[in-house]
Structures are given as C-alpha cells and as structure tokens.
C-alpha cells in the first residue's frame, strides 16, 4: 500500500480538518494519487479527501480510467473517503433508516442475522420493506466497528457497498462493487496501512 510513498515520488502535504471533533491531521501523500490541481497544493486544509485506487495494488485510478476499466468489464477498483462523521451507533441508525425509507431506525428493534464474511445483517421487522442490505461488524465488547450499506443484487445494474469504519482517528468510507464484499477486512487493513504511511512521516 505504501509503494508510492518511497523513492523520488513527488509528495504533497495536506491537513484534514475533522470539524465535528475539531482536530487536524497532517498527511503526506504521493502527488500521483491526486488528479486535480487543487489537491496538489501543499499545506491546503481539506474537510474531506477522496481517493480512488485499484483493489489489488492500491495504484491510483483517475476518473477517466474508470470509464476505460468499465468498458473492459473490470470493476476491481474502489474509492475511499477520509472525512468526519457521527459515531458508528448513530451512523448505523442513519443507514438503517436509509435502507428502509425511514421506517426502521433503532438498532435494538432490528433483527440480527449471521451473514457471510463474519458479518451480522440487520433486518427490518417483518412488514417493513428494506431495499438495501445493512451489515455490521462488532468487536469483542459488542461495539460496532464497521457499518455496511449495500445495494441488493438484481435491484440495480451494478450493486455496490459502502463500508464505514475508523482508522487512525479518521472516519473512512469505502465504496466498491458488492462482489468484492468478501474482501472487506482486507480493505480495512489496506486503508489502515496507507494512512499509517501518510501520517507517519518525518
């Protein structure tokens, strides 16, 4: 994940300002990850930062590349957004509400079902239509570590998943095609490694 952090790569230093927590993180990132001029400005303060990378080797994917990849039938890329959002409990309520048109919000009222990939599915009570799938992953203490909102297979052309978690005190949202959901743990490890390189520089 850090291959481009070494050698003679041009680097740019950003400040990510998390307004809810009122904290700033300084990140030093290879310029090649940014396709827009404003993202290549040293010292700029951003309130969110979007990256797009290939899933297998974390090389950057520009917008124009996505069209070419799609034409080739390839979907093995993902985006991840560094940002600031509410805690995972509240986020799960919001995600549940989004999935059910506001008819189910409370985590405690949702039905829990074991799902693939070590995830727990949250289902609305019988009688409530749910047009997106919600999953969570909990730690040993029962706290929600990761939240997922996925389009349902067959509902849309190219179903995708959003995965929310926290790494290095930064809130992360990752997007990818649903067929890659099985790799969700790897995505967290990869983003975590990337951020470690971006945050720990001399």
């Amino acid at each position: 994940m850090c291959a481009l952090f070494h050698g003679e790569e041009e680097m740019v230093t950003h400040v990510l300002y998390m307004h809810q927590e009122n904290v700033r993180h300084e990140l030093r990132i290879p310029t090649v990850y940014f396709e827009d001029a404003w993202d290549r400005v040293d010292g700029a303060e951003h309130d969110a930062q979007l990256f797009s990378v290939m899933i297998d080797d974390f090389t950057p994917v520009y917008r124009r590349h996505t069209a070419t990849l799609k034409k080739a039938g390839r979907h093995d890329y993902m985006t991840f957004l560094l940002q600031d959002y509410v805690g995972n409990e509240r986020l799960t309520e919001i995600v549940l509400s989004t999935a059910t048109g506001g008819k189910s919000r409370e985590i405690s009222e949702a039905l829990r079902q074991d799902a693939d990939f070590d995830l727990v599915a949250l289902r609305a009570k019988e009688g409530i239509e749910q047009n997106k799938d919600v999953y969570i992953s909990e730690d040993a203490a029962g706290d929600i570590r990761t939240v997922f909102l996925c389009s349902q297979m067959g509902d849309v052309k190219s179903p995708g998943c959003s995965q929310y978690f926290r790494s290095h005190a930064i809130d992360i949202k990752v997007n990818y095609r649903r067929v890659f959901l099985a790799q969700w743990k790897g995505f967290e490890i990869d983003v975590d490694s990337f951020l470690a390189c971006a945050l720990n520089f001399e």
């Binding site: 827009d36 404003w38 400005v41 799609k70 985006t79 995600v95 959003s162």
Partner: protein
C-alpha cells in the same frame, strides 16, 4: 454550514417520502445553495441542470449504457438519499468531496456509469487550488433556473459549459495509453545519449496550447506555445490561460513527455530516466543561492552566498565549501562573468538519503527554471540546461507566430 436537528428532521422526512423537489427546496431554504443546483437537475429547468443531465446521458452512451427514464429517476432518487445520509451523519454538511463520492457511487450502482458522468468535475478541475475551487463551486451551486455559472478565472463561462458538455475524456485517456506504451518501454539510461531534439514535437502537425507564464515578481507575462502532448491535464489545455508556473516531465535522453502514471510505472521498473522542470518566476540567483546554501548547510545561520568559499569542481562547476558540521547537500555554481551564479545546482549526498537527486536552477528567455533529476545525471547538467533552453526557445518562437 451546519443544520440544526429540526432542519435535519425535515430533510429526513422528505427523503424518506422520496420527495426530491421538497427535499432540495428545503435544503435551499435552509441556506445551502446546493439545493438550488440539485433542484435544477431534478426539474431539468436550469442551464446547469440540463447540462448535467445531458452530460450524464452522453457519458452513459459513450460507455455503452442505455439509461431509460425510470432508471434516470432512480439515479435522482438515490442521489437524494445519499445526500441525506451524508448530511444526517455530518450535522447537515456535505463537502464537495462527499458529494463527488456519492455521485460516483450512485452512477455506478444504478446505471453502471463511470465517475466521468459527474458534470462539475469538468468545471472544477480547471481550478488550481481550493481558494479558486470554492468560489467556483459556490457560484455553480447558486445557479438558479435560467441562470448560468458566473465565476470565472481565466476562461469564459461559455467555454466552460462547452467543455462540460463535450465528451473528450475517453479520447484523452486513449492518447495517454499510447504515450504509455512508448515511454514505459524505455530502459534506464545512465548517461544522456544521442542528441535529442527538444523541438521535435513543435511541428505544424502537433496540436499546441498557447498560454502565458505569469512572472509575478517581475510583473510581466511570457507568451509560449507548447505541444499539447507535453501537458497532461485538461486545465493545462486551455488556450489563453495564465499560469504562475508550469510543470513538465520528460525523458532525459529523448525529451519525450512522461505522464505521472508512466513515472510511477517506471519507478517500479527501476527506470529513472527522466527529469521534471518547472518554469516560473523566482528570486534572483544570488538570493536563491543563499537560500539553497542555507538548506544544504544547516545550523550555520544566514551566511549568504557571497561569504562562501568556492573551489573548482568537476564538470566545469564551482563548489561551495560548506562551513557547518552536518552538510546535507552539495552545492555547485556555474558563475557568470561578474561572478554571479548563472546556474545553481544542489544535489543530495549519497548515504544521507536513499535516492539522491539534484535541483538545478537557471534562467532562459526571461523565465526562471528549476529542474530535478536523479544525481546520476548530474554530469550532464549542461546538456539538461541546453535541452530545456532549446525547448523554451521553440515555445517562445512558436507563440510569436500567433496572436495570443
């Protein structure tokens, strides 16, 4: 701007009811002008809204996707739901990056359309920094039905809209691929061999971009005309634009353009046969020499160029005898007749850094140039300088034949 609990509840109600018009009207009434823009797109009754819809459908068509009306309506619905989710989780705030992110997600999920489908990218990407981007965005989202964008930097709004609606990106990328095949194939070259011609691309058959280097310190502009193949990004393809500086990346031996992606791939192959150079405006060379020496010789205070002893060095250069105990870089000068530094070269020291490189500063055709390359190419500093000077000579001459 943040929204209060009541305002968020109103948005949530409209989103859950699937009422896009009420949602965006409410958002606009709370003072967030993004509501106005999105309303124009939803109703297809503003210049920006109609352009956004047309551009999305054109992109879909380019990518072989058919988007029937019901699917377009689903896209619109999912965008509202995604916007609501972001705002509910973020006290009502949706940043540009967050909005860009959920557009990419919804376009791909619902319609199978790539990230190219979001119109504002092709408007916003022409701005150089956040200070320019934010007012451009604010102006964009303030476009009420029947109005058009009002913010401009260096290009007329009409031109921006025509850029937005045009379908160029795929062509640009294919051109980049052709580039890649040629440049990545090149193997590392320890020296600089056969005489390159930096003006090879200045042929009448090559498309050129005419622009100005804005020399802010000297308060003048230098007109240049550069083959488009040297300019990777769309914002650099704007004729008549003024740039405070312009970056080029070329191979050392053949002076062919190297894209960022190519550079990364070359790195993986251990190929460092390239240099980058920035054309812009800098302080005079004596002041620059002092700055470079201060970085190379830390802890010695501001000794200044004139107080350093210079000794004869290799490659027809003079080297500064550093006085500090912890030298970080070697500094060389090519001196003019009056003893002033015409060229300043600062190179990393092997063993101090893993991949020593050199920064070389000189002036040509009234412009200041900084060039960077791996230290192994230092012996060819004069050749590097001559090549870039030739390149700029051609760029200045080419501009004289045009009225820009």
């Amino acid at each position: 701007m943040t929204l209060n609990t009541d305002q968020l509840a109103i948005l949530d109600t409209h989103a859950n009811a699937g009422d896009r018009i009420a949602y965006y009207k409410a958002l606009a009434s709370f003072g967030d002008n993004y509501g106005n823009l999105a309303l124009g797109v939803t109703l297809n009754n503003s210049v920006s809204g109609a352009a956004a819809n047309k551009y999305f459908l054109d992109t879909a068509s380019d990518e072989g996707q058919i988007v029937p009306d019901d699917e377009l309506a689903r896209v619109s619905l999912e965008l509202m739901l995604a916007d609501n989710l972001v705002r509910q989780a973020n006290f009502g705030i949706a940043t540009i990056d967050q909005i860009q992110d959920y557009h990419r997600q919804v376009f791909e999920d619902v319609a199978g359309v790539s990230a190219n489908g979001w119109t504002p990218d092709y408007f916003l990407q022409s701005f150089d920094n956040l200070a320019d981007r934010q007012p451009a965005w604010d102006s964009l989202v303030s476009s009420e039905p029947g109005r058009t964008y009002t913010h401009q930097k260096s290009v007329q709004p009409e031109k921006r809209i025509s850029n937005i609606v045009g379908g160029l990106p795929t062509v640009v990328f294919l051109a980049t691929l052709f580039w890649s095949a040629a440049a990545i194939a090149g193997s590392p070259s320890p020296g600089i061999s056969p005489a390159p011609d930096p003006c090879t691309f200045f042929s009448p058959n090559e498309e050129h971009v005419d622009f100005f280097i804005n020399m802010r310190l000297e308060q003048k502009k230098v007109a240049v005309s550069v083959p488009k193949v040297f300019l990777e990004d769309r914002w650099d393809h704007v004729n008549g634009a003024s740039h405070n500086s312009q970056l080029f990346r070329v191979t050392l031996d053949t002076f062919e353009p190297v894209s960022r992606v190519q550079a990364s791939l070359q790195n993986r192959n251990g190929n460092h046969n390239r240099m980058t150079f920035v054309v812009g405006d800098r302080v005079d060379h004596e002041a620059l020499a002092s700055i470079v020496l201060r970085r190379a010789d830390p802890g010695t205070g501001d000794v200044g160029f004139g107080n350093y002893e210079l000794v004869s060095s290799e490659y027809n250069l003079s080297q500064a005898v550093l006085v500090g105990t912890d030298p970080q870089r070697n500094v060389y000068f090519a001196l003019g007749e009056n003893g002033a530094p015409d060229t300043v070269v600062s190179c990393g020291i092997a063993g101090k850094v893993p991949f020593p490189g050199c920064d070389q500063y000189f002036r040509a055709f009234g412009m200041d140039i900084k060039v960077n390359y791996r230290a192994y190419a230092f012996q060819n500093w004069q050749k590097v300088q001559d090549d870039i000077t030739s390149f700029l000579s051609c760029a200045v001459e080419a501009s004289k034949s045009k009225d820009i």
